[in-house]
Symmetry: C2
Subunit: 316 residues, 2 copies
């Protein structure tokens, strides 16, 4: 295969970590490309209100924040290509990135591929996805005006999205397998005060049933050991995230859940390969922590390229 | 001494790290106070254009970013007190914070005290500070309209501020002790293209001389070993930063330069005491990395308080 245009840095993933890395790398004078297979912004584009990204005192949608970051990266001449990265190889000091569109030779790679929602893995989940089952209240909430919906999960995302859904639905059940929520207090309190929200605790969804569309959930109460039916028009699943770390699988160190381990420079085990954002092992997954990772990864990559500049082939 | 109002979290320092910590802590439902001895915003208020904080695609002043973060923190009911913290003690699990205004008992402390400019420590520096010697081009640049100024340093700050000074001064010398600059390429290139800027490399300032005001610099060229005089109206010093870490000195682990060592939760060696931003040991000191630290520190503090809530005295 022929090699396409060459870059100093290829960033895989166009969420906050990747966009921030591009802002820093491109501003640092490096020829920079972001490969994004779907939507610029990554997971945040499904968030209606981001209220804790420092500096935006008025709430912004995740989509708007992503758009601002994209413009900023492009202002410094970072290129964005809507291509899916299939594989990352090495060729001496260089990296070869294979995308849906061909091969690129680059000096450094920053993996900012993020994470994706965990599935419940219960009967009916796949069948009813897009027919009542959703992983994105922001995307699909408006379809449930005056309907009854349920949210599965007890963390920040689950509770925040349940509150969001009360804008549309007439009733929102929150189903959580424990007796206590994990979400931060202020979010819990808002949910407790919301009259449209009803909690179903100590319970798990055993099956999702219906005809063409979802009609009801089969619930199992772990304390009473009773099974019950819950009629719903929609089910929103927020039970955790799984890192999109396949591209480096078997070549770098991972934590138990498959998140990539980096040092504090965001370096992985492969020289010149960095990771940033939700795909990495970290304490707190937020827009600001992902953006910070991206900035640090780009800074480290820039230093590494500078240190090794005599050793790259002339064309690369 | 009487104890003042009690808080869950006291944040020492009102720069981006402290403000971000306040946004997260207060939004998390904790009673939160920031103590700031001088200016909200910390070091960034002296930056005219922040162009790489992800999400602001149009340049903003550091002052404006700080103001936005402050409003956001106050929106979630964080309190800001313009008091200087004199000492931090422990009282069982609680911390006692002594400020210029009295004592506060809190559950957790986040140290976000930042850093301050390193001095040249040459004869005349102290005498002419405020009389031609400055550490803040944004603050004092406008005083040098059509004058001749020099900047000492070769990093990003030095070169960026030199470029900024060309808005006012008719001539800007950059004095750097090495033959190459440390600043990122894009910034270097801008400086090289700027006709008002002249570089004096391999050189150090030996003394600052004048009458009531600065008149000239005594320079020593390390390569030629020659001494020369440089007439200037102003001197801006950008030769590095020193952490403001005295409050925990001798009680937590430091790196060689005195920056506080934390783990990846931003925890110091003292239970319930966290550090964030420029005062900590880190790879890259930027608004976004400080803000990320602040968010993580607040998240960790919140978890620690929750885990220990049965063990705090009822009043605290």
């Amino acid at each position: 295969m022929d090699l396409n245009t060459e870059y100093d840095i290829a960033i895989v993933g166009g969420g906050p970590a990747g966009l921030s890395a591009a802002i820093y790398a491109a501003r640092g004078g490096l020829k920079t490309v972001i490969f994004e297979k779907a939507l610029i912004g990554g997971q945040i584009v499904v968030t209606a209100d981001v209220e804790n990204y420092p500096g935006f005192e008025e709430n912004m949608s995740g989509f708007d924040i992503a758009e601002k970051m994209q413009k900023q990266a492009e202002k410094f001449n970072a290129e964005i290509k809507l291509e899916e990265v299939k594989a990352i190889g090495t060729e001496g000091l260089c990296k070869v990135v294979e995308t849906s569109n061909g091969l690129y030779r680059v000096k450094s790679v920053i993996l900012a591929t993020g994470a994706h929602p965990r599935k419940l893995a219960v009967p009916g989940e796949e069948k009813f996805t897009g027919r009542g089952v959703s992983y994105c209240a922001t995307c699909d909430g408006a379809l449930y005006r005056n309907k009854i919906v349920a949210v599965v999960g007890g963390g920040d995302s689950a509770i925040e999205e349940a509150i969001f859904l009360t804008k549309f639905a007439r009733k929102v059940y929150i189903i959580h397998r424990r007796s206590k929520l994990r979400a931060v207090k202020i979010v819990q309190e808002r949910a407790f005060k919301n009259e449209k929200i009803e909690f179903i605790l100590d319970s798990v969804v055993q099956a999702i049933e219906g005809g063409d569309f979802i009609e009801k959930l089969m619930l199992y109460n772990k304390k009473t050991e009773k099974i019950s039916e819950l009629p719903v028009h929609g089910l929103f699943i927020y039970v955790g995230i799984i890192p999109n770390s396949e591209l480096l699988e078997s070549r770098v160190e991972f934590d138990e859940q498959g998140f990539i381990e980096t040092d504090n420079t965001m370096h992985t085990d492969i020289p010149g390969v960095y990771a940033a954002g939700d795909v990495t092992h970290k304490v707190l997954r937020q827009v600001v922590t992902a953006s910070s990772d991206g900035a640090t990864a780009a800074f480290s990559a820039e230093k590494w390229i500078e240190e090794n500049k005599e050793n790259f082939p002339k064309q690369a």
